[in-house]
């Protein structure tokens, strides 16, 4: 009734190929952006922005990165944490070595550094597939984290091994990292960067390069026979995926925790992001956001629910219940809809188109 494209005729292929071809979706997206850009910074508390929204955005970006590699190109990877660490350490080295370098340039260059590392660890993908490739990327995970922890050059010979991100401004005195930066400035910077990179990712997956990735994922033999070069396509997926993960890692260190430490990017981080794309939906940019939202927000909601309901439960019990409910929900979602929240959303939209009729 409300969600129907009746009467919206497309007269050009450009209109038909738009990201949101239906007007209701365009309005919805505009509303989400308005809330994110206006309502959040004005109404959101410091706690809300710093511990919920910024990590949500950083995780979304990392999940987009992994989704390009695993969801679109079909190459299973457990090295996400390591590629994020590459980005974080590259950003730290760049900002300390070149203090005048603009933070945006530094972030993009650290993404490029992560992409270069991603290409190297993507090379085995020509020969090995599936779980075996996952094990090969696991090597990247353990080796790189070990490297960053052991070689003091990466931490500028700091004694503790834990280093804080230096303060940097976008323009003039508008600090976005370090102690001077307001949560609003940090949040808006992250939001803009993530929104732009998400748009670029969406454009890639609906263009020729995205179709090449999906072709390799769906049927690699047929892909090669229509002219796709397997190694080049897989490496491009590794490079672009690692770029996104690298930028996400740099954002994590500079905008969320404020410190750069290898421990933040261990194997658990890789698994966490893998869960996000599985729950959110493999092969969907929207799914990356939904999955990140689910994994970041749900534990917070669960831990606060008993308090809000006024139930007299001890904090320790709450945290145990939280883990159990969280695990149960993941299993439940995977049984109900193995293709993730993004697929649920699509089914919901298809049903909504016909509502109130069943078909």
């Amino acid at each position: 009734m409300f969600y129907r494209e009746a009467g919206q005729f497309k007269v050009s292929y450009a209109a038909d190929q738009a990201i949101f071809p239906i007007r209701q979706d365009q309005i919805g997206m505009a509303m989400i952006l308005a809330v994110a850009y206006v309502v959040m910074p004005v109404a959101g508390s410091e706690y809300w922005l710093e511990t919920i929204m910024i990590p949500f955005l950083v995780f979304s970006l990392a999940a987009i990165g992994l989704n390009i590699l695993t969801g679109y190109a079909g190459q299973l990877s457990l090295g996400t944490g390591a590629f994020m660490a590459c980005g974080a350490f590259a950003a730290y080295k760049l900002t300390t070595a070149f203090p005048d370098l603009n933070i945006i340039v530094a972030l993009l260059l650290s993404g490029v550094a992560a992409a270069a590392v991603g290409i190297v660890f993507g090379l085995p993908s020509l020969r090995i597939k599936g779980f075996y490739l996952a094990v090969a990327t696991l090597a990247a995970q353990f080796f790189l984290i070990w490297l960053f922890a052991k070689v003091p050059w990466f931490t500028n010979y700091s004694a503790s091994g834990v280093i804080s991100a230096p303060p940097r401004a976008v323009v003039g005195e508008l600090y976005v990292t370090g102690v001077h930066a307001t949560p609003q400035a940090r949040y808006l910077f992250c939001l803009t960067l993530v929104a732009v990179l998400a748009l670029l990712a969406k454009n890639m997956v609906r263009s020729s390069i995205g179709r090449q990735w999906m072709a390799i994922r769906d049927m690699d033999i047929a892909a090669e026979i229509i002219g796709i070069r397997p190694l080049r396509t897989k490496l491009s997926a590794f490079a672009i995926s690692s770029f996104y993960c690298g930028v996400a890692g740099a954002l994590w260190a500079f905008f969320y925790t404020g410190t750069v430490e290898p421990g933040a990017f261990d194997i658990n981080r890789s698994f966490q992001i893998l869960y996000m794309i599985i729950i959110g939906g493999l092969g969907s940019i929207l799914g990356a956001f939904l999955g990140a939202g689910f994994i970041v927000l749900l534990p917070i909601v669960l831990s606060r629910l008993p308090l809000m309901l006024g139930l007299p439960i001890s904090t320790a019990t709450i945290s145990h219940i939280e883990v159990m409910v969280f695990g149960t929900l993941i299993v439940f979602f995977l049984i109900v809809e193995p293709h993730g929240l993004a697929r649920l959303w699509r089914i919901f939209k298809e049903k909504l188109r016909l509502w109130p009729f069943p078909y």
């Binding site: 999906m214 072709a215 026979i225 672009i240």
Partner: protein
């Protein structure tokens, strides 16, 4: 785009059978001790429809796999457009204008019909990935230009109604048609069809025959196909090559092949005395 115009204005005399396009010379292919192909030689001429027939296990699909670079024969040479080819990968064959379909459909199941056909066109798309990421200016124009071409294929194959449907949801006959569309999107010089009519009902077979003949006549595409339906083979092909146990039994126009005693014995199992 010159390439697009070429397809839109078919030559009237494309059906003239021309020079040798592909020459297969004394090809032998082994898998361990199994001789899949044994000293096979034949030619494919420009603009013709060549059928490769033979009982199961005769080496027909292996022959196609050799032609498009998927298998590497141990002996013999393949000359394509006057150039003898060295060991090559399938994507190089695609770049030279050889497209194919598969016996058991090899579509990209997660993508829509339109995306599958657009993927078949990727060798004609040259924008770098950062332009595609910006989706602006030349990249968007390129995307729309190729969309137009793919829509022509969709019209030609009469699959407009399933344009946006994920191919995994389509019935078998339509999937076969989409796969043909994906091969056509590359505007191939030589089109290899591996059992394009297997498992189809009479109506679907008639449609497929019509498409194959139209492709051959309108675009002048050379077609080499494998098919088991003898009625179809004898009707649409200009020449027939018969394989059995990796050997070539016969090669010639349908009528002479039909009456060849070696072919009859291979198919009907006439006793040798």
């Amino acid at each position: 785009m010159a390439a697009l115009d070429q397809a839109e204005t078919p030559d009237a005399d494309t059906r003239e059978i021309g020079d040798v396009l592909l020459r297969v010379d004394r090809i032998s292919l082994y898998f361990g001790g199994v001789r899949a192909l044994n000293n096979i030689s034949f030619e494919v001429r420009e603009h013709e429809i060549l059928a490769i027939i033979g009982p199961n296990g005769a080496g027909k699909s292996s022959m196609l796999n050799v032609i498009n670079g998927f298998y590497h024969p141990q002996e013999g040479t393949i000359t394509y457009r006057g150039k003898t080819r060295s060991r090559m990968r399938p994507y190089q064959a695609a770049a030279q204008g050889i497209a194919r379909t598969f016996q058991n459909i090899a579509l990209f199941k997660g993508m829509s019909t339109l995306d599958n056909i657009m993927t078949g066109r990727l060798l004609k798309m040259h924008q770098p990935f950062w332009m595609q990421a910006l989706y602006w200016g030349p990249a968007q124009r390129e995307e729309i230009e190729h969309r137009k071409f793919c829509e022509e294929i969709i019209d030609f194959l009469e699959i407009q109604h399933i344009r946006k449907t994920p191919v995994g949801r389509l019935p078998y006959g339509l999937q076969k048609r989409v796969e043909l569309g994906r091969a056509l999107a590359a505007q191939p010089t030589l089109l290899l069809l591996d059992e394009p009519m297997a498992g189809m009902n009479v109506e679907e077979k008639e449609d497929m025959c019509r498409f194959i003949l139209d492709i051959n006549e309108e675009f002048g595409t050379t077609i080499a196909l494998i098919e088991h339906d003898m009625g179809v083979v004898m009707d649409i092909s200009d020449r027939v090559v018969v394989l059995d146990y990796g050997r070539k039994l016969a090669d010639g126009p349908p009528d002479s092949v039909r009456s060849d005693p070696a072919v009859v014995s291979a198919y009907l199992g006439v006793g040798h005395d």
